[in-house]
């Protein structure tokens, strides 16, 4: 493999990983945007999605459905994982965050951490502590572009992730409910005075964000071939860094942040000791918090016009 195709391959890998981080980061940023809370349970919701995915996929494969109806199978796997986690997301909001909506941010933050531990332990008890294998549905074959190999699985996952992000953008900009969500995020009191049911918009945020995280969980399972109850943690940290980098609260910011964090990680691992790749993510996080806490596309408090 020559240098140019090697670099091309890294770009492919970066886009792949970045799309997954972006999907997870969207969950953080949307929830933060609307209730100014970092949903620390988001990593566990992502993992729950991966578990539902493996359970459904294994079931479908046991009677050969995946081979015969691949697209429908994927639709069912992603659909059920996202639907389950959407319900779980609403439940988390209802139990852990809604009662604390008017209390201090620290109380809600602790409640989020508690929820994270609760869900993580729940998954450990119900799904076990060891890796659970995802049935391999994508082979190693793929297409060759200028020496870089893009596997069918990578193409499928990136296209799906992009489609979801486009759908989300259309939802928040073109639909009545999406606009109500943005209005609630920008000024909750005013949104109420215009007749927007903010409980409903917050609930919908807690459906969409976690559902996107669940989709990312299934993608990770499909690509890496395994899930474990604690796999959410490292993805959570990466996606959190992506959301902060892009500007927490900003949807396009989360997408760009995801791609940048994915790119940094992939290129670091390609040229420098890969054991340090996670350190780079945290270095970026610290630098952003130090130099530009509002992130690339975020709005700093002082910039907001009164």
């Amino acid at each position: 493999m020559d240098t140019s195709s090697f670099i091309l391959q890294q770009i492919v890998n970066a886009i792949f990983l970045g799309s997954i981080y972006a999907l997870i980061a969207l969950g953080y940023t949307m929830v933060y945007g609307i209730i100014e809370l970092i949903n620390f349970a988001h990593g566990e919701l992502f993992t729950a999605g991966a578990f539902i995915g493996v359970i459904v996929l294994t079931g479908l494969q046991s009677f050969g459905f995946v081979e015969s109806h691949f697209v429908i199978s994927m639709f069912i796997v992603f659909g059920l994982a996202m639907a389950y986690v959407a319900v779980l997301g609403v439940a988390v909001e209802h139990v852990a965050y809604k009662p604390l909506r008017d209390s201090s941010r620290l109380a809600a933050l602790l409640s989020a951490l508690g929820m994270s531990i609760f869900l993580s332990n729940g998954m450990m008890l119900s799904q076990g502590v060891s890796d659970r294998a995802y049935p391999p549905v994508f082979g190693v074959e793929g297409i060759n572009i200028g020496g870089a190999i893009i596997t069918n699985g990578q193409i499928f996952i990136v296209l799906l992730a992009v489609a979801m992000m486009i759908a989300l953008q259309l939802f928040v900009h073109r639909t009545r409910l999406g606009k109500a969500m943005r209005a609630t995020a920008q000024n909750r009191t005013m949104a109420r005075m215009l007749g927007i049911d903010i409980d409903q918009t917050i609930r919908i945020t807690f459906m969409i964000g976690p559902a996107l995280g669940a989709a990312a969980g299934v993608m990770v399972g499909l690509h890496y071939g395994a899930v474990r109850f604690d796999m959410g943690f490292i993805f959570m940290i990466k996606a959190f860094a992506a959301a902060i980098l892009g500007g927490i609260g900003s949807i396009p910011g989360a997408m760009i942040g995801g791609l940048i964090i994915g790119g940094i990680e992939v290129f670091w691992a390609a040229f420098l000791p890969s054991a340090w790749k996670d350190v780079t993510t945290f270095t970026v996080l610290i630098l952003v918090l130090y130099l530009k806490p509002s992130g690339l596309l975020g709005e700093s408090e002082s910039e907001v016009r009164v």
């Binding site: 920008q186 009191t189 907001v304 016009r305």
Partner: protein, 240 residues
């Protein structure tokens, strides 16, 4: 021939945490009139509006709107009865366009044609908003934001329009323009207007009734023309 007032507050008390902000407010706004509430900073004028809207619920007393009690309802329910507010600080959605801000004003309405007509009407009242239609709310000047806030409230086609300090921070020419528009809104659509102002002279000159508020209480209520001649009002609020 005594029509019941559109809005009536009877002995309304509101608390911020433990601060007794409204200490038994009683006032009323006749159908189709412009009434104003004047008073110094911190007297409780904005709180009165927020209490009417249900954002700062009253703890005691009655608020009757259009013959029905509305105290105890949630803000979104009160809005659906026909009350819209252009609040203190304008509260524009900063990352939504002028068009979207206006659209949100009509959030509860389903009559597409009526919404379009009202949007045209708002652009007619404030042509500058039409020029800025795609611009984000947060990038507008203070005066433009004020027009957008009033326009957004009008998009709900309210029976009662609450305006909190529409002249605040605006150049004198702009203040005149805003007050002319308030009269136009009242005359053309018959919308009842409840105006909160520090610019007492202007506010009283366009109102039929006026209420003077001091530290959480209404201390004088009278015809606006009488208030303009009232010695106490002249001294304290008209700078004479």
């Amino acid at each position: 021939m005594n029509k019941p007032p559109l809005l009536q507050l009877k002995d309304v008390h509101t608390f911020y945490d433990n601060i007794h902000a409204l200490k038994g407010i009683s006032l009323s706004a006749p159908q189709g009139a412009i009434v104003c509430l004047i008073g110094a900073n911190g007297a409780g004028k904005s709180t009165t509006l927020m209490t009417i809207c249900g954002v700062e619920p009253s703890r005691q007393g009655e608020i009757i709107f259009d013959g029905q009690p509305i105290h105890g309802l949630r803000p979104e329910q009160i809005t659906s009865r026909g009350i819209a507010q252009s609040p203190e600080g304008r509260q524009i959605f900063p990352r939504m366009s002028v068009f979207e801000n206006l659209e949100m004003g009509a959030f509860l309405r389903k009559d597409k044609e009526g919404i379009q007509n009202d949007m045209d009407w708002v652009f007619n009242l404030f042509p500058v908003l039409k020029d800025r239609i795609g611009q984000l709310g947060g990038t507008l000047s203070g005066g433009e934001q004020q027009m957008l806030a009033i326009g957004r409230a009008l998009m709900a086609r309210p029976k009662l329009l609450l305006l909190d300090e529409p002249s605040l921070g605006l150049a004198p020419k702009m203040v005149e323009k805003i007050f002319e528009t308030i009269i136009e809104i009242n005359q053309k659509s018959g919308t009842t207007i409840f105006l909160v102002e520090q610019n007492a002279q202007m506010a009283l000159s366009i109102s039929s009734l006026g209420f003077v508020m001091e530290t959480g209480r209404i201390v004088i209520s009278d015809k606006a023309s009488a208030l303009l001649e009232n010695e106490r009002v002249k001294k304290a609020y008209l700078g004479e």
